[in-house]
């Protein structure tokens, strides 16, 4: 099979970029191969088709779920086999078929080549591993979670389509193919958020997600076009070869090229929910929880991080872009953490937590630690997925109840221990508790922030530390309120009294003190528990790669080392060349860091960040566990909130950002629309009516001539004759 693909090489000869192709650089001429990676694309595509057929045929069993799980598992196996075979250090290009292959001249920049070809290196392998892996696991979770849903097959069709388009995004070897996947995941996000299309809030959330993404996509599209105009190519190897040549020659980079990373950044911020385009992510929680777990925690939102990591050579041309990325990431992390501390819906808390952690990833990229960012992506995928799925289990079991003022002490209920355990594991990883995977990945990023000699990175590091504390606080706020304390629960909106469909799972507990005496929570079943367990194990095990391949900063570092993102860590003079400061070397894993003017050994970083995490945890315990007798109120927390006064209320209302956008954008647009409606009515319709009025006026003028009066006609004849004579007279 590999030979079959290999023999379809055609594009080398058709390219006009060969001259650039052979330039020496960090990324040299890339060999071809790995054609069987197309299976990772074909299998989800097959699942889409089959699930579509099932939806059309109205299949009622769990067949769509099994089809999807099988296909995604096979895709994961394919990636695993490929990884084992190739390893992270040998990038490959696998050519599928020609897609755009236009050429109107032989000079460079006069051909447009964007083929269905895969670019396989460490970065894309890393991403594909957890995309397909988590995809398979969450498909398994969904098979039980979505049972009884009317759109079962439709859900899995959209789910598989998502995995397919995410693979296109990650594996594509040119910007256009990547963009195809980019738009595809946006589409699938829309389809899946709006899965319950009869619910108006879900539909509104889906539209919001798509439209806000679009705003970012506009920047991405312009960046893409500018790339083509400036570099004459859309394929990564061609662009990066030119970039390397440009950097090696030391010429001044023109402004038009420096703008490209900024535009890509806009797209990344839209897709990965950073300031100011993050508003869609909390609302996206209207979709089913597995969707939130897979798309809005682990995979789609990391597409922005992937984009920047992939196009890192372009970013290194413009250090200001890197600084912007870092600052936006850091500020987003802080901002959304403050909101996460105040909202009551546990899924919303997790959503804001996702936004915050994505901010960390961008901070990592901006601090030139692509490996740190990628590692955080990797660990975050596991623990955030497990957090979301635990919340999903709670929601599933308590008929849609997610308010932490209405749930308490669930860990003590039988059948809920696994859920509580996975939740605890997730919260520990999220907070960066020592020796958890989140701890190591966050530490890498924060350490890099203190080391990078760019503008204000020290401040960013401090912001990151404070945010780590806040993260620990809100994570354990959720855990302590929902799973510990007195047992108390209320069903959510989906509960209709009189329905005893969950009787077989009902558990008789004498501690039921709710008003709905007949409600019995539905403890999670085998599929959910299995997936939760696997994810928890994975979250804990994700710490292990930190210790492998230490020379590259961990296994993830090894993966990124062989990719285009490696440019970040290998180039030591990016910021110094730009700022002209002293030649401070930027080396990963440096022995000493400089914090607030003090020189601190790197090892101390571990203690400092764990300190912040433990402080946050303790704060959560104090505020939410001490003296709490019921689910609805924790006396210390409520007192603090009252003391904060209006600030607390603002935080609870998400700092009124949505309302701000409404006033800033929606209302002016409505006014504009109203104006245009009037213009349309008056002028456009008026013109059309005028066209209708014209013949009537003409008729009104002409009609009297048809009066039937004999002399009228004679007069007409006489008039005609006069005119004729006048004409003759004039001509003479």
């Amino acid at each position: 099979m590999i030979d079959v693909w290999r023999t379809t090489l055609g594009f080398t000869a058709t390219l006009a970029q060969d001259a650039v192709h052979t330039g020496a650089g960090a990324v040299g001429a890339i060999p071809h191969g790995g054609g069987f990676f197309f299976l990772a694309l074909l299998l989800p595509a097959l699942s889409v088709v089959l699930c579509g057929v099932y939806a059309a045929l109205g299949v009622k069993s769990k067949l769509p779920a099994w089809t999807t799980v099988v296909c995604l598992t096979l895709a994961f196996i394919t990636i695993l086999v490929g990884y084992i075979q190739l390893g992270p250090d040998s990038p490959r290009i696998a050519f599928g078929f020609h897609w755009f292959n236009l050429s109107w001249g032989s000079a460079p920049g006069q051909s447009l080549v964007a083929d269905f070809a895969l670019y396989i290196d460490g970065l894309s392998l890393l991403w594909m591993l957890f995309v397909t892996g988590l995809g398979a696991l969450i498909a398994l979770y969904s098979s039980e979670y979505m049972a009884g849903d009317k759109g079962y097959a439709r859900y899995f069709a959209a789910f598989s389509l998502f995995v397919f388009t995410m693979s296109c995004l990650v594996l594509g070897d040119n910007l256009l193919f990547m963009f195809l996947g980019w738009e595809g995941v946006g589409l699938c996000s829309y389809l899946l958020i709006g899965h319950n299309y009869k619910k108006p809030s879900a539909v509104a959330a889906a539209k919001k997600a798509f439209i806000v993404n679009r705003i970012g996509d506009f920047g991405l599209i312009v960046g893409l076009m500018l790339t083509f105009v400036k570099f004459g190519a859309l394929r990564y190897e061609d662009i990066f070869a030119q970039v390397d040549a440009m950097r090696a020659s030391g010429v001044d980079i023109p402004m038009s090229i420096k703008v490209i990373p900024l535009l890509f950044m806009a797209g990344a911020f839209g897709k990965s929910a950073q300031l100011p385009l993050y508003v869609w992510l909390p609302d996206a929680m209207e979709g089913p929880t597995p969707v939130s777990a897979l798309i809005h925690a682990a995979t789609m939102v990391t597409a922005g991080v992937y984009l920047i990591a992939r196009t890192m050579p372009l970013f290194t041309l413009n250090p200001d872009a890197l600084a912007t990325v870092a600052w936006v990431g850091g500020l987003t992390a802080l901002f959304s953490a403050t909101i996460g501390m105040a909202v009551f819906d546990i899924k919303r808390v997790m959503a804001y937590s996702t936004v915050s952690q994505l901010g960390y990833m961008f901070l990592g990229l901006g601090a030139l630690s692509a490996s740190g960012a990628a590692y955080h992506v990797f660990t975050h995928a596991f623990f955030k997925a497990s957090l979301f799925l635990s919340c999903g289990a709670v929601m599933h079991g308590f008929a849609g109840q997610l308010d932490l003022r209405k749930l308490s002490g669930l860990a003590k209920l039988p059948g809920w221990r696994i859920t509580a355990f996975t939740m605890l594991v997730g919260c520990l990883c999220l907070s960066g508790f020592p020796f958890t995977s989140g701890f190591f990945s966050k530490d890498m990023i924060i350490a890099e922030a203190f080391v990078t000699p760019g503008p204000g990175y020290q401040a960013l590091g401090i912001i990151a530390l404070i945010t780590a504390g806040m993260t620990a606080y809100y994570a354990f706020r959720v855990f302590f309120r929902v799973f510990l304390g007195p047992v108390e629960f209320e069903p959510g909106e989906e509960y209709t009294p009189g329905e005893h469909a969950h009787d077989d799972h009902a558990v008789d507990d004498g501690q039921d003190t709710t008003a709905h005496a007949s409600f019995h929570p539905h403890a999670p079943g085998v599929a959910i528990n299995l997936v939760l367990t696997l994810l928890a194990i994975g979250a804990l095990a994700a710490a292990a790669p930190y210790f492998m391949h230490k020379e590259h900063g961990g296994w993830v570092g090894a993966m990124t080392h062989g990719s285009t993102a490696a440019i970040a860590e290998e180039s030591q003079t990016i910021f110094t060349a730009h700022t002209g400061a002293g030649a401070v070397e930027h080396v990963a894993d440096e022995e000493t860091l400089s914090i607030l003017g003090m020189t601190v050994p790197h090892v101390a970083m571990y203690f400092i960040s764990s300190g912040f995490a433990i402080v946050g945890l303790a704060l959560a315990w104090v505020l939410h566990m001490t003296g709490r007798r019921s689910a609805a109120s924790a006396p210390v927390a409520d007192a603090l909130k009252r003391a904060l006064g209006p600030v607390g209320v603002w935080a609870e209302h998400k700092w009124y950002v949505d309302e701000l956008y409404d006033w800033l954008l929606r209302k002016p647009l409505r006014v504009l629309a109203w104006i245009f409606a009037y213009i349309d009515m008056l002028f456009v319709d008026g013109l059309v009516s005028l066209a209708g009025v014209g013949p009537r006026i003409l008729g009104w003028i002409i009609r009297p001539s048809q009066s039937g009066a004999l002399q009228g006609y004679a007069a007409g004849m006489a008039a005609g004759m006069i005119l004729f004579l006048l004409m003759l007279w004039v001509m003479l």
């Binding site: 039937g708 004999l710 002399q711 006489a718």
Partner: protein, 127 residues
């Protein structure tokens, strides 16, 4: 009588360059005299046709127009020294007679229908 005789002989008058005689030929301005009168009669006929409502009088004004035309034809015939115009006027007379017969027959019929000679009695189109 002398003038008459002179006019008659002018019909076969031919002139050498030295013998052009005003009495024998109708000059252009002389022609114009007759034409002005003919046009005036024609125009008066038009005015009468447009301003009268009695059907018979309207046809009479038509005849007046034909008179004007005949006068113009005869004048031109004199001007160009041939008899074509006069021959034409014979036909004009013929046609006028035929037309008068037809018109009057129709007017009689119309009068029988509406008991009036008013032209506006026959305008039933709503303008």
């Amino acid at each position: 009588m002398n003038a008459l005789a002179g006019s008659m002989s002018a019909l076969i008058a031919q002139s050498a360059p030295s013998l052009a005689s005003a009495a024998d030929m109708l000059s252009t301005i002389g022609l114009y005299h007759y034409l002005v009168v003919a046009c005036a009669m024609f125009a008066l006929g038009v005015i009468g046709f447009l301003s009268r409502r009695n059907l018979i009088i309207m046809f009479l004004c038509t005849e007046l127009m034909l008179q004007g035309a005949s006068l113009a034809l005869i004048a031109f015939s004199r001007y160009w020294f041939n008899h074509t115009g006069e021959v034409f006027v014979i036909f004009v007379l013929t046609v006028a007679a035929a037309e008068a017969a037809m018109a009057l027959a129709l007017v009689v019929l119309l009068y029988r229908k509406r008991e009036t000679l008013d032209a506006l009695a026959w305008s039933s189109m709503r303008g």
